[in-house]
Symmetry: none
Subunit: 136 residues, 4 copies
DNA sequence: GTGGTCTAGACCACG
DNA sequence: GTGGTCTAGACCACT
């Protein structure tokens, strides 16, 4: 059980986010959307590195971040697995980070002269697409 | 009406954004909200740097970015002025950047396990607060 | 203000903890004990690396972990600073981690055939020595 | 009284400790609590490996560690048996290890902002629960 | 100068 | 085979 699945994860060269960030976001999304269920095994560090043609250290760093954030559990010699969901951050910390993300996002978007409705619509679409099977 | 006004701009040491980003965002916001009308003169690089107690290079870089984005026009020997509104980016480019910002934002927010409604509400608030009297 | 102080931090070659862990623990301790007050600047990555004669990447990793945990704020081009205290983790997560640490500690110590009183005494000493000027 | 008893030992997949560590801790605990009396035979490497569905190498390594620490004695051709109590480590070595464990534990716990009383209480509970009928 | 990211290649413990 | 750590050296954005 929990066979390793060829992860549907891609690195976009044009994406301004650093590679390690793209991996973290991608995996988080797969977990949040339920595509990677609790207990599922992730591709090995070396395996994913090869698949994405990036350095293994880069993948390792991303995985390690995800573990620190509580999304993954690492077992030396066995591999990495999707961790059971848990409320990691205090309400205050969640609030702080949400505020930060919103500030940054609006700062980015305001420069584009896009009507507020369209922005909200796009965000709503993207959030809906996650089909939050996991988040509370 | 091109008098140099003491810019209502502040640098927050606690703000996680780099200083140059704070300046760019701040000026863009002042323009978008109409507080800096078309044709208004901006403080000199040295002046603003002194006012904010930051490195002049940082201010220069921020101004240069704002000019490149079409928010400011340089008049040789006179300084920088708020440029008349125009389509500063191609529609495709706007789409690309919007997409990017949304992806990043959702990537950040997904980690927080916040209900989509609350996220949208916060974004809407923040967008509204900018009172885009100028942007279309 | 916030002059960089030659950090009272040492790497013990005999210590079984990896170097990066020793740095993280050491800095956390200095912050928790109040020896590094809020806003204090930390030695630069390269500087500390030289002082400890370890690779800068190792220090960078430790610092990055401390930032992720909310103990430090990093400002590119400026350096790292002790962050204002905040309740980062949910009560449940704190409980989980405390449980884990206790389990591990007792597992280590039970093998030593040391009377429980002595163990508790040593832990109490060590905790008291932190003079919790910062923790709530 | 040297009959092989079906060992009351379990491997928890969720446990963050590596498997070999879980075995070592488990056996030590059984000996310390007297559930495995002096002279008792331990399950064979293959037997325990099968029972726990882990790699025999892992069990062998755990047993070898326990022997090195003086908890088990090997009788050639017969298997492993619980060794009579003795001073397994020099006093200095015990002190060193205790010190190390305390340092690490406090380093972990300091990050959690938990009152010292609660920490001590939890440690005392856990130590008491081991009911050291055997250790001095 | 600062921190952040990436690559390359090595060694270790675990299974 | 697995993940984790460390070193070495490079490039980037920011100040």
């Amino acid at each position: 059980m929990t066979r390793r699945t060829p992860l549907l994860l891609q690195i976009a060269p044009g994406d301004p986010r650093p590679i390690n960030r793209q991996i973290v976001d991608g995996v988080r999304r797969l977990i949040a959307s339920g595509e990677l269920p609790v207990g599922a095994a992730l591709p090995s560090v070396r395996g994913l590195a090869q698949q994405l043609t990036v350095n293994p250290n880069t993948v390792a760093k991303a995985y390690s971040e995800l573990s620190a954030e509580g999304w993954l559990d690492a077992r030396a010699g066995l591999g990495l697995f999707v961790a059971p969901p848990r409320q990691r951050l205090s309400k205050a910390e969640v609030e702080r980070r949400l505020e930060e993300a919103v500030q940054r996002f609006v700062g980015d978007v305001i420069a584009l002269d896009v009507p507020a409705d369209r922005v909200l619509e796009r965000v709503a679409d993207e959030l809906a697409q996650l089909a939050p099977k996991r988040s509370a």
